[in-house]
Amino acid sequence: MIVKLKYMGVIHDKMPDVLDLEEGTTLKTLKSNLLDMCDDRLKPIISNASFIVNNMSASDDTILNDNDQVLVLTPLGGG
């Protein structure tokens, strides 16, 4: 299945826009895949990012479906 990803913040333009994942993949597995793909400096950012799936907040247990839109947001609270 295809999951579309969009990133906001410092991970901008550094990660894949689309991932082909197995049916039933959880958000936890997606995060793990992203962590494997990114360089060491981005790992803490991905680990601490907010994930929003189809406009709703998602947890590690959230099961992803074909054509889901996943927003990966770095929670940088600006001043």
């Binding site: 906001m8 913040g9 709703m56 001043g79």
Partner: protein, 621 residues
């Protein structure tokens, strides 16, 4: 020798022209550190309860701290303190740039001003020489022009100036002084105090060295902090793109308020607009990085904007708060309008948060038919309409038509028109900042119950929640007191030291204590820090208590706590039990929530609070 301090403070009475120099007492330094610690103690002693904030007995202070001008990283801030003309209680606001360290190098840890001058004046301080000078020729001038004019007039190209613009001159309640062209101790009504005193500006030049107890230790800590920063992505991101790097993510994850706090970022604002308002997208305008004094991070930048509807030429990169206040809050995805409003605020001297939030209130009132087109001088103030936002902002700056009303903030405007009060988004009358307690619930306690209400740079658990993804456990409101208080007391010390909040991005919290120990020579350990933080909190709290303001009197509007909860998006269904958070906090702080009384034995144990004990419990303490 008082290490870490200039050793003197200035007291100026603009009614009489009297200039008095006093030693900085060692006891004051040990008990209250600097910044608003000094400020709260001195204003508590100088001002009687019930003093008119805009009257001659009102005092305004400009205060540095022991990290300032000592080579300690992040030590470039100064704090303005006053009684707020909006809340009628305590107010403090701090600012970066170079003004604070320059004041200290000119010989003074702090400057306190009372009285009202019969004509516009500015205070000129040059290496220990102090004058009150005529400012009639500067009255009406914008803050950037004042700085240039004063550099020329004093023949001091390195002069640092904090000045009000036309907004402060008109005693706009949401006005503020601006230093270094774009840095502002903006919040809570600092500008109207200067305007009411006819104090246009303070100009300082200083070349003195500040005695430091352990200068080698300061450099050693600097090295440690610099190393830590290299491995910290957040620090690197702020250093490259500024605080606005988080604007798009915050607009979508629920951190930023949307549509006057009633909207949902992912639905009402959307990814395209969010991304356009962020500083990564705006990086094309950057010409130069800007670091405040002694800052290794450098979250500021100079911009050159020559396109769009409002080509500004040289301007400055807006902060996250500004981008959100003139962006998602208004559903405006037009960066040129936001940049223009930022420039108007910097030159006329407005708090960008309150200005944006006031327009958001007016916008919702217009959309709901509460404010008519005629009342808004023919402007169709529809959601996201950048052209209309700029027109209203300019009217506020010029004090013209509806702008004359809106320039005093949303609470004033709602009272003036006597309508739309249910759409105010405020804490005790102060427009809320750009971090939503429905995302970071601890912020509700900070916004509502801190003695300086409605601030995102006061401490508490919300400051950590803001940096994390939404977590279910953050919405369990039991047992929050110890951590909420601990983090608040840390922030009291941080702010009083004159260090920047962003030092916490790259350095562990004990770094602040290490810097204070190194500059002052005090043994400033964790226990000292917590006691000092609580003493500072208590004196700010006591200032309000003496004005009759108790926790139960403080207010926070309901959207910010999910009443009613949002029906969609990442914050769907969340509510915040702010009273419970408040009760937990005050119990831990030794303050009875219902009566508002602090524990007498605790005050005695903390020390340095004799006047507070006397005022609350009578002469025989």
């Amino acid at each position: 020798m008082l290490y870490g301090y200039a050793g003197k403070m200035l007291f100026i009475d603009l009614s009489t022209g009297e200039i008095e120099e006093r030693e900085t007492p060692k006891e004051l330094a040990e008990n209250f550190i600097g910044g608003y610690g000094f400020g709260a103690k001195i204003l508590y002693d100088m001002m009687k309860p019930g003093t008119d904030p805009l009257g001659p007995d009102s005092v305004i202070g400009f205060i540095t701290g022991p990290a300032s001008a000592t080579k300690a990283w992040f030590g470039g801030r100064y704090t303005v303190v006053n009684k707020s003309p909006i809340t009628g209680g305590w107010n403090d606001a701090n600012s970066g740039g170079f003004f604070g360290p320059e004041l200290k190098k000119a010989g003074y840890d702090a400057l306190f001003v009372k009285g009202i001058s019969p004509k516009p004046v500015y205070i000129y301080i040059n290496d220990g020489k102090v004058e009150i000078r005529d400012a009639s020729h500067l009255w009406g001038m914008d803050t950037k022009k004042v700085w240039e004019a004063l550099k020329e007039e004093t023949n001091e190209p390195k002069l640092r100036v904090t000045a009000i613009g036309p907004a402060g001159e008109r005693v706009s309640l949401i006005s503020c002084p601006i230093n270094d062209g774009h840095r502002a101790p903006a919040r809570g009504g600092t500008g109207p105090i200067m305007g009411s005193k006819k104090l246009k500006a303070i100009a300082v030049r200083g070349t003195k060295d500040i005695p430091v107890a352990h200068p080698d230790k300061v450099l050693e800590i600097n090295k440690k902090v610099t190393e830590a920063m290299k491995d910290n992505q957040m620090a690197q991101a702020f250093g490259t793109y500024g605080t606005g790097v988080g604007t798009p993510a915050s607009a979508l994850n629920g951190d930023s308020p949307v549509k006057n706090w009633a909207g949902v970022g992912v639905i009402d604002f959307g990814e395209e607009k969010a991304e356009k308002m962020g500083s990564i997208a705006l990086d094309r305008y950057k010409t130069k990085k800007y670091n405040c004094s002694s800052c290794p991070l450098g979250c500021g930048a100079e911009y050159e904007v020559n396109d769009g509807r409002w080509p500004l030429g040289k301007t400055e990169r807006p902060e996250y708060e500004t981008a959100a206040a003139f962006g998602s809050t208004l559903l405006c995805g037009e960066p040129d309008a936001m940049l223009k409003c930022n420039e108007i605020c910097n030159t006329y001297g407005f708090d960008t948060i309150s200005a944006g939030m006031t327009i958001a209130w007016a916008m919702e009132c217009y959309e709901r038919g509460i404010l008519s087109k005629e009342e808004l001088d023919g402007i169709e103030l529809t959601w996201g309409n950048g052209e209309a936002i700029v027109k209203i902002m300019q009217k506020m700056a010029d004090g013209e038509g509806c702008g004359a009303i809106l320039s005093h903030g949303s609470q004033y405007a709602a009272n003036y028109w006597n309508k739309g009060k249910e759409y105010l988004q405020t804490a005790s009358g102060i427009e809320l900042p750009m971090h939503d307690p429905r995302h970071s619930p601890g912020l509700a306690r900070t916004y509502k119950y801190d003695p300086t209400p409605g601030r995102h740079v006061k401490g508490g658990i919300g400051g950590v929640q803001m940096l994390e993804p939404i977590k279910e456990e953050n919405y369990i409101f039991d047992g929050t007191g110890p951590m909420d208080l601990g983090m608040t007391l840390f922030t009291e010390v941080l702010n009083a030291s004159s260090m920047c909040y962003f030092s916490t991005l790259s350095a562990p919290s004990e770094t602040v204590y290490e810097y204070i120990s190194a500059t002052t020579g005090m043994n400033f350990d964790q226990e000292t820090a917590m006691n000092t933080g609580l003493r500072i909190f208590m004196i700010r709290y006591a200032f309000n208590l003496r004005e009759g303001i108790k926790p139960k009197d403080m207010t926070l509007t309901k959207r910010a706590i999910g009443e009613p909860p949002l029906e969609a998006g990442p914050l769907k269904g969340y509510r915040v039990d702010v009273e419970k958070l408040g009760r937990n906090f005050f119990k831990e702080a030794g303050i009875d929530f219902d009566s508002g009384l602090p524990d007498k034995a605790l005050l005695e144990k903390l020390g340095g609070l004799d006047e507070v004990i006397k005022d609350i419990y009578g002469e025989d303490k």
